[in-house]
């Protein structure tokens, strides 16, 4: 089970932030290659691992950059709102350091953080391990 250990300057302030690459799904990539369509460039962003998120959410610009269309909708509840309907996209997320790969559904929503473009939620964490070592300012993340 490959894992990455990320050091942080101030883990308490920043939280567990990790660089991830977003790509189209393997199935769509296969389809594009068959049709000889060019593959979109990966979108590289910073994501926050958030145990308070039941699912992954990302900025709507990311699926837009990959030229993706939605495969569903879902309702989300946040501290300030209830039952807002958002699009869902099927995408591939790669953590390049150890080539950790997760392919699944991501919810598109407006995210306010200037630096954070994605929240990695418990739907990803159910397939992995998160070790938060506060006193050494680092965390370890692993995916099956």
């Amino acid at each position: 089970m490959p894992s990455v250990t990320i050091p942080s300057e101030d883990l308490e302030k920043e939280g567990p932030i990790i660089e991830v690459h977003f790509l189209i799904s393997l199935e769509l990539e296969k389809k594009y290659l068959e049709e000889k369509k060019p593959l979109p460039e990966p979108v590289i962003i910073k994501a926050l691992i958030d145990t308070g998120a039941s699912a992954c959410v990302l900025k709507k610009e990311i699926p837009e950059k990959l030229g993706l269309t939605p495969i569903g909708t879902t309702k989300i509840c946040t501290p300030s709102t209830k039952d807002h309907e958002c699009y869902q996209y099927f995408m591939r997320m790669v953590i390049p350091v150890q080539q950790l790969v997760y392919e699944g559904i991501f919810i598109s929503a407006p995210l306010d953080g200037q630096e954070i473009n994605c929240l990695i939620g418990r739907d990803v964490l159910k397939n992995g391990i998160l070790i938060y070592i506060g006193y050494t300012n680092q965390f370890t993340f692993s995916l099956l």
């Binding site: 939605p70 495969i71 989300i76 209830k82």
Partner: protein
């Protein structure tokens, strides 16, 4: 992807009204029309819908999505779990700024 936005212009000085058009509205309508039958026959499974057509029902969402991509490529289609009450996703973070998500 960009949502189609129909802007209804009003008279001078009045606010214009934005009407959001969901690109999956036809598929959602098809689901709602067939929901009771789907609940009886395939509760908990995942249905794949394109336009007014129910393509098939699958055991997992990824199976349904993969068939959807294979058949329709990168065009909108709906994969939905067949449940009486639709679950919501919960976020404790205040980073999510909601005006409307479907845009």
């Amino acid at each position: 992807m960009k949502m189609k936005i129909q802007k209804r212009k009003k008279f001078k000085g009045r606010k214009s009204k934005l009407i959001m058009v969901n690109v999956l509205s036809k598929e959602i309508e098809t689901y709602e029309k067939n929901k009771q039958r789907l609940l009886k026959e395939s509760f908990g499974k995942f249905v794949l819908i394109k336009g007014e057509e129910i393509i098939n029902v699958f055991d997992t969402s990824s199976d349904a999505i993969k068939v959807g991509i294979d058949k329709f490529g990168n065009t909108p289609f709906l994969v939905k779990q067949i449940l009486e009450i639709e679950p919501t996703q919960n976020f404790t973070s205040n980073l999510i700024r909601i005006s409307t998500c479907l845009q």
